[in-house]
Symmetry: C2
Subunit: 415 residues, 2 copies
């Protein structure tokens, strides 16, 4: 497989203030096109550092994609570094400068283009301009004497993504012998990674096919099979069979749950305490969620649990806020308020401080349907945000099991 | 400054399925200790690839921190790679094996430790074991003949974070001449990056002090000043003065807003449509949010807007869901329902599909107080998730301006 490398440029990446999601996106895109990405590098804004990183990346590679350093200010040095690498001069291109002014006029009507943006019309001689329809910085594409292609894209993620898509479509013409591998995935949830490893023992392999497993903080596990058509198809079927009861139709628990609700004609509502909106945000992230999803309530204070969800005050006092009884009452109350078929609820301690006798990370989840209420306790390790995120995933998982009849109906508590 | 490098190991990083947040965390930690992180690399699980990456990273560095490849399976090769790099043998340490069994017993009471985990007790001769109190994999710390220290930590983020903190505290003893720089930050919001660049012109510099600017998708901009005490203090004061009206007390809009509410004894509530829980999740992510934050409602369907927020049906039909009138009615209704001092509301089109005459990314925000209702329209570019995230940030920004009396009271619409 032809080798590709990714280079992310920017001091902010090395200061540890910005997570490099651009590289992740590019790795996926290039891998799906049949390139083998064998390493990724992040370097700072300095021109010398960029030149050496580019030199390292180009050695033995068919393609290097870099992001960042194409802005209008003096510390944006990617153009200069590429010119040095290719030992060519920089030239200003009138057509690029016209496109920059047109883009600026579209994005900020009535404002004059600052003169500094003229730098974005500089190109190493022989480099091709890559159009950017979401920002002022055009990208660059240049072939080095070694035969390696270097593509430079802006670091702003939503500009980069659109340009990378267009670049990916051109790859078969740029890189001879590129063969798009067959990539198949299966997704499941409801068991941990170690149980999954045991169930799937003997089916992991390198070569044709290659099988990879990825555990997501969003609550699902992905199996990815890459290779040629027949081996991929066979292996995927074997893998799916082993985890059959836990398979998801979609690589996202929220989308799987909403899809299952839609199939059954069910409506859905969510009442949250400790997850504080994370559950609603997961559901709302799914395009078309409004078909099934009625409403969500973040009843952060006891008063809200009483007024919006009709959770009785004495029940809260008797069992405590973090209890099966309160989670079940929240779910039942939410179901009534929303007149929904299924209501989910969460209550727990996200931290940072715990309460007497209840450790941080203790969360009760409940699901109410016409058949009754089901509840479950989970214990999550980590900081406040992780507890909230994982508890939201666990609530989606409970909903998925309930919609699919995987839990006995009626009032059940799992501890 | 002594040079540190970060190396993240794992095929999943190169497949583009996993974002490398470990490297970001380590960069920040090492920079705060006075190390200069000049590059970061991600490589796959292969032993040969790890050895060459380690070799590249160690050249000229005082410290290399790598994460990943310490699991119990056969494709976890970091221990082996480190032994090869140091040209030493691997030895099994009985004490480490005892600690692994004890940890397993604590995390999964009653389950036997799989024999494969014994691999995690293997150490290159001469390497020190770094305790891991959140998982089975101990870390490694070894000094190469060149004098460069190599620390290997597990790839599981919440295990890595705790171990990295302990390592950071030992750095002054490991790296002679390490001087913790003075790091100061200022945060502001309410203006874009280009306006900020203009206001701050002439105050950016490299050297002592170094000034960096980072724009966060969470809605604020961070100025970071690094150097020695007096120049940092002086520059920070100059920077703060230029953006004085926009300064935040905290590097997070939600925490700033909740803090300002707490100061005034105000309670807060949020009614969301297009942001679908993102606004609640931002508020709920702040420790101690429950002091001021009453409740949130995700009124995703018109029915929920009517029943929970008392938005009149005719108003919705007359103005449309995405309108100043509906945003204002949602905020006013939320304020009444929650009996809160301040209520925020969002309504808009997050996409992927737009509606007749209203482009995707159009969002109306409103804030209701005893003095009246204020609303504002924003237009956000990008995918569904970005629109939701940025609109939640814009709502927090509106709330911040209202609490601080930066907007005229009464019914105002800004278009």
């Amino acid at each position: 497989m032809p080798i590709a490398r990714v280079l992310s440029i920017g001091d902010e990446l090395l200061f540890g203030r910005t997570v490099d999601t651009n590289a992740t996106h590019l790795c996926r895109l290039l891998g799906d096109q049949g390139m083998l990405v064998d390493r990724v590098e992040q370097v700072g804004d300095g021109e010398a550092a960029i030149v050496s990183a580019l030199r390292r990346a180009c050695r033995g590679a068919a393609l290097v994609v870099c992001t960042g350093g194409l802005g209008p200010t003096d510390d944006d040095r990617t153009r200069h570094a590429l010119a040095r690498l290719g030992a060519v001069a920089l030239e200003e291109r009138p057509a690029a400068w016209r496109a920059i002014r047109a883009c600026w006029g579209r994005l900020r009507p009535g404002m004059a283009v600052p003169e500094v943006n003229r730098r974005q019309a500089l190109f190493p001689c022989g480099a091709e301009s890559l159009a950017n329809d979401r920002g002022t910085a055009p990208g660059l594409l240049m072939r080095l004497p070694s035969g390696c292609w270097v593509a430079c894209l802006p670091g702003v993620p939503h500009e980069m993504v659109a340009m990378a898509d267009r670049l990916a479509r051109r790859l078969p013409r740029l890189v001879p012998g590129l063969r798009r591998p067959v990539v198949a995935e299966a997704w499941f949830a409801g068991i941990g990674e170690s149980t999954a490893q045991e169930l799937l023992a003997g089916l992991f392999s390198e070569g044709d096919p290659t099988v990879g497993i990825t555990v997501s903080e969003l609550g699902h596990i992905t199996l990815r099979v890459v290779g040629s058509a027949a081996p991929v198809r066979r292996r995927l079927a074997e893998l799916r069979q082993r985890v059959e009861p836990y398979l998801l139709p979609h690589p996202d628990l929220a989308a799987s749950l909403l899809g299952a609700c839609a199939q059954r004609g069910w409506t859905l509502a969510a009442a949250e305490s400790c997850t504080a909106g994370h559950l609603a945000a997961r559901l709302g992230a799914v395009p078309g969620a409004s078909r099934c999803w009625r409403m969500g309530v973040v009843a952060y204070q006891p008063m809200a649990k009483r007024s919006l969800l009709a959770v009785p005050g004495p029940l809260i006092r008797r069992h405590g806020l973090v209890s099966a009884a309160v989670a079940e009452a929240m779910a039942a109350g939410m179901r009534r308020t929303a007149r929904a078929d299924l209501a989910l609820a969460t209550t727990g301690l996200a931290g940072p401080t715990g309460e007497a006798g209840i450790p941080v990370g203790t969360v009760w989840l409940a699901a109410a349907t016409a058949a009754g209420v089901v509840s479950r306790q989970v214990r999550i390790f980590g900081g406040r945000e992780r507890v909230q995120r994982r508890a939201a995933a666990a609530a989606l998982q409970l909903g998925w099991e309930v919609v699919n009849g995987m839990l006995p109906p009626g009032r059940t508590s799992t501890h």
